[in-house]
């Protein structure tokens, strides 16, 4: 059972110089980082950045070409069995057994992780209650909604009381109510001291949930810090958000010609101007509005979002659009 051994001062997840090659292609290129015990850690990156490969190594699915990765001091190349006893995984796809009831899914997962039957039954009852699935206890999963399946899969991942929980896009494809519920569940688990390794494309989610995030691109880690520190460091990306009462296409084109404005992009009913010199840009936009008889109904200088940071660091093209989680 996980938790029987003393964990000592080991980090929950430790990765040192990890490399994974597939033939000539290097998927993970010498990354190193640590996740502290009880930390809620976000692992972000565009598609093909090496996130899944890294997580596959951390969950014992594949072996690294070189370097090392360990869970609570148990090396995944040398002792993956012990390491895997301490983790559980919430995959992107809700992969409960549809032929089984919620109860049987929980009991099967508990047995697969070696939880004694009595303890497993107690834990399963507790999880069904926590996740509001008590009345679905004896219902086959094939009749569950997406949200219910997601909750069950998270409950299944908690049945062995993992020391480290890997979550891959936990709220993808869910309605707003389920997203809120699951985010609150993640916060609860974090409060209970579970180390959570969250892989996500949802930057707003990483921003509101994670204590630290690692941004990975082309197999390398390009930043590891708290979301706020990353945003502070990216303050050089200066953004001016402006909305006019009425704006024509030629006005928008005119804005992009103002010296010092690097980029103009639509963001809902507003325009998002990226500049190197914010005060000068504000004056220039005011002058521009006066000259063309336009009235400004909204002007704001928002703090860069995690999405802005992500776009800047990864160099993925295109303007950052509507990031809700500043």
């Amino acid at each position: 059972m996980p938790g029987v051994e003393p964990m000592g001062s080991h980090a929950a997840v430790s990765v040192q110089g990890l490399v994974k090659r597939y033939g000539a292609m290097t998927a993970v290129d010498g990354i190193s980082f640590e996740v502290e015990q009880g930390e809620l850690f976000g692992f972000l990156g565009p598609n093909g950045a090496g996130k899944t490969t890294t997580v596959n190594i951390l969950t014992g699915v594949s072996l690294p070409t070189s370097g090392s990765a360990s869970i609570h001091g148990h090396d995944l190349a040398k002792d993956s069995f012990r390491a895997r006893e301490m983790i559980n995984v919430v995959p992107e796809v809700s992969n409960a057994y549809v032929e089984y009831t919620a109860w049987k899914n929980l009991m099967f997962t508990a047995a697969l992780y070696g939880v004694p039957r009595g303890e497993a039954a107690h834990r399963a009852e507790e999880l069904l209650r926590t996740f509001g699935l008590e009345d679905k206890r004896n219902t086959k999963v094939k009749g569950f909604s997406q949200g219910m399946r997601r909750k069950l899969v998270i409950a299944m991942a908690l049945v062995n009381r993992p020391r480290v929980l890997f979550m891959d896009e936990p709220t993808t494809g869910l309605d707003v109510q389920s997203v809120i519920t699951i985010r609150e569940m993640i916060r609860d688990l974090h409060r209970q001291g579970v180390t959570i390794f969250l892989t996500t494309h949802n930057l707003a989610e990483a921003n509101v949930l994670c204590e630290r995030v690692a941004i990975v691109n082309r197999g390398k880690i390009i930043a590891v810090d708290t979301p706020e520190n990353l945003k502070r460091a990216a303050r050089r990306v200066q953004v001016l958000e402006v909305a006019f009462e009425r704006l024509e296409a030629r006005d928008e084109e005119g804005l992009s010609l103002i010296p010092g404005i690097r980029e103009v992009a639509g963001k809902g009913d507003k325009l998002r101007l990226v500049t190197d010199e914010l005060p000068a840009a504000i004056s220039a936009v005011n002058r521009f509005a006066e000259e063309r008889g336009l009235s400004i109904i909204h002007i704001n200088t928002p703090w860069p979002s995690l999405e802005d940071v992500f776009v800047e660091l990864t160099g993925i093209g295109g303007p950052a659009k509507g990031s809700g989680g500043r």
């Binding site: 969950t59 014992g60 699915v61 072996l63 040398k78 002792d79 993956s80 069995f81 012990r82 390491a83 895997r84 006893e85 983790i87 559980n88 995984v89 995959p91 796809v93 992969n95 409960a96 057994y97 549809v98 032929e99 089984y100 099967f108 997962t109 047995a111 697969l112 992780y113 070696g114 890997f166």
Partner: protein
């Protein structure tokens, strides 16, 4: 991937988990259409095609039918279950669980064996 030394404690855990997988496979996959089709329907028609036209009591052919049905049914649980699990994405559960690949396959083979017996 063996994932470390095989101590007696570890051996016990692996064996118990293989049995858990076998039990689950028997419950879920023995009534799946491919298993029923290749294990029961196919042998029955095979039996009929060979038996019709032959002289002698039908009771002589029954043991052969039972044997061939059991053979096909039990040997179909793992081959039917594995692709099904990969399709349903449940196979990844084994890869991250504390059970080695060899023991997981043993569990799946056991399911067919027990079903056959």
């Amino acid at each position: 991937m063996t994932g470390g030394a095989l101590s007696p404690e570890r051996l016990g855990k692996e064996l118990r988990r293989a049995l858990v997988i076998a039990q689950k496979d028997i419950r879920i996959y023995c009534l799946k259409p491919p298993v029923l089709l290749f294990g029961l329907v196919f042998p029955f028609f095979l039996f009929l095609s060979f038996y019709i036209g032959k002289k002698g009591p039908i009771s002589e052919g029954i043991p052969g039918l039972v044997c061939i049905s059991l053979f096909f049914a039990s040997s179909n649980i793992a081959p039917a279950g594995m692709p099904y699990e990969r399709m349903a994405k449940t196979f990844s559960r084994y890869l991250t669980a504390p059970v080695s690949l060899g023991w997981m396959i043993l569990g799946k083979t056991l399911a067919g064996f027990v079903f056959g017996v």
